[in-house]
Symmetry: C2
Subunit: 346 residues, 2 copies
């Protein structure tokens, strides 16, 4: 097997960003619907195509035409759709629905989903902590589309959305964080319950709240009504920064409490990943998460953090299945996963 170029298999937008020792990515998503048109669930195939046509005309008439490329989800296999989900480019909802479509920018940082839960979902993604810029980017696309499309909008309630929890700004902002220190120090449940009190929510990205998910958590706003987009982003940013400080402090405290134990754990994780002949997704995420921490603490110096982050996306089931079909269909998925990880850490 020739060495895989994992930067081609994982989202292009992964790289070096602000605070990316703790924050994997920032995302802003705006939900919009066409005026005088039932929500997607109420539409048949014909009507959905009409919605897409309307949006396509708007894209076509603006500078978005040069920036975004249309992908019709119906033309994709379930696996290809799931791969887009694991790259965080479409939602699981879009992957499971019918007659969906997505516009993607070349660098995959901008996406406009069509006929998902809402007619339009604008998503802007970035590496590291970068919420303000993502809001600006999403607003630009939103403004361009709105210049050509009548949105469903209510004077008092704001943007109307399929799910009432999105009504108002229609905005969901989120950051994906690696909280190894919080999990190791048994602080994660405290964070989850404290954050809920201020209208934010923490979820395990892969496997709820457990170490099995590589200690990746998504923090997002729950409230979309009664606060401006800027206020929400401001609050999420502030909380994220507090969590980053706390995470760095916890990581260092854990290291100080038992340096040898942590170095041993880090190096054993590296040894296992470098030699295992098969790896489950849970194991891979667990050991990769330990390496991430080891890199943050300076224990591991020869491996770039970006490699770990890309591997944590790449080892997930659909990504792996996708690679398996490209490389060797007869291959066991855990064997393929181990081979790719081994190869990248050489």
């Amino acid at each position: 097997m020739t060495k895989l170029d994992i930067s081609k298999e994982t989202p292009k937008w992964i790289g070096t960003g602000l605070d990316n020792d703790v924050v994997l990515s920032s995302r802003v998503r705006l939900a919009r619907n066409l005026a005088n048109t039932p929500f997607p669930q109420k539409l048949n195939r014909e009507e959905k195509l009409k919605v897409l046509k309307k949006i396509d005309e708007a894209v076509d008439a603006t500078e978005l035409k040069k920036e975004l490329k249309l992908i019709q989800l119906d033309g994709l296999s379930p696996l290809e759709k799931q791969t887009l989900v694991e790259r965080h480019l479409i939602s699981p909802f879009a992957a499971s629905g019918e007659n969906g479509a997505v516009y993607l920018s070349e660098d995959q940082t901008e996406a406009v989903m069509v006929n998902e839960e809402d007619h339009i979902r604008i998503q802007c993604l970035s590496t590291g902590l970068n919420l303000e810029e993502m809001l600006q980017k999403a607003n630009r696309i939103d403004d361009l589309l709105e210049s050509r499309i009548d949105y469903a909008f209510h004077e008092r309630n704001g943007y109307l959305t399929t799910c009432p929890t999105n009504v108002g700004t229609g905005m969901r902002a989120s950051v994906m964080m690696h909280l190894h220190g919080h999990v190791a120090a048994n602080k994660i449940n405290e964070v989850i319950s404290n954050i809920a009190k201020i209208g934010l929510v923490v979820r395990g990205v892969y496997g709820e709240g457990s170490e099995a998910g590589g200690n990746l958590f998504q923090i997002s706003n729950q409230i979309t009504l009664g606060q401006s987009e800027e206020e929400i982003i401001q609050k999420l940013s502030t909380v994220t920064k507090q969590l980053i400080d706390q995470e760095r402090m916890l990581e260092k405290a854990i290291y100080r409490a038992n340096p040898l134990g942590l170095e041993d754990r880090t190096m054993r994780s590296l040894g296992i990943l470098k030699y295992a002949k098969k790896l489950s997704v849970e194991e891979a995420l667990k050991y990769l998460s330990t390496l991430w921490q080891g890199i943050n603490l300076g224990i591991l110096q020869e491996i770039p953090l970006e490699t770990i982050v890309r591997l944590m996306i790449l080892v997930r089931p659909a990504m792996m299945e996708n690679l398996r079909q490209k490389l060797d269909q007869s291959m066991d998925i855990d064997v393929l996963r181990a081979g790719i990880v081994r190869d990248q850490l050489k």
Copy 2:
């Protein structure tokens, strides 16, 4: 730390011997006592020195003079004594007693313990399965000593010994075997109880009967009376050969049943040993035992079995403590163990 020459730190006699994919060593030991002299426990320091003097005169008057070198155990620290025990050159009994001495040959395959449980214990050791030759070597030393010393001997009972279980031939023959397959297939307890029925006994070398001992077992004769030395050796050899065949079969069957699982386990063990920053003796023995099996099955080809065997002796507590005192007294023993293992497997 410069790379340690482990062949200098472990018994010289370790090397390539017959059936040494399963058998680490063969040993024959003869217990003898001087006529008309109380057993060592009944002797004071003066009387013990008299015994040693008598034996020394015998050694001096024969060709043994050129072959054996006297070490007085009283001149050694408890650690130095324990190190001789872990090298299987003296018995734990000799290490704990007073006024003991041992004659050692240059290659450490021949030893004559003085004032141990008996006045004289002749021991011949070899790598691999080699009981007949060890008996011949022990008999030669025995004959040479007997040409100058009157042994305590009874017409009907044979050689008289302190412990009644040695009366008769005074011979204890044993083989040290690596029975990874038997342990993995849950057959070891069956073997232990079956072997007891024919007058042989199986013991875990390090940690009774459990995997913690690196799956090393010693099989020896229980009976010393009513059978000739040759008959006993013959029986032990036959049983050992059956166990070797059975072990090879079990190893292969386990591999066939789950090749990927075994390769994965082998390679992970290698990864851990190559990267761990600290290692307990139990862990080290466990992973080294897995590598031994991996070498037997052809999974690991780049590591000589001799390295594994030497490491399995070297990682034990007194051996490590000895090295620690030589290399760096401030060093944690588990860290030193991990460092030495890492280094040898590079």
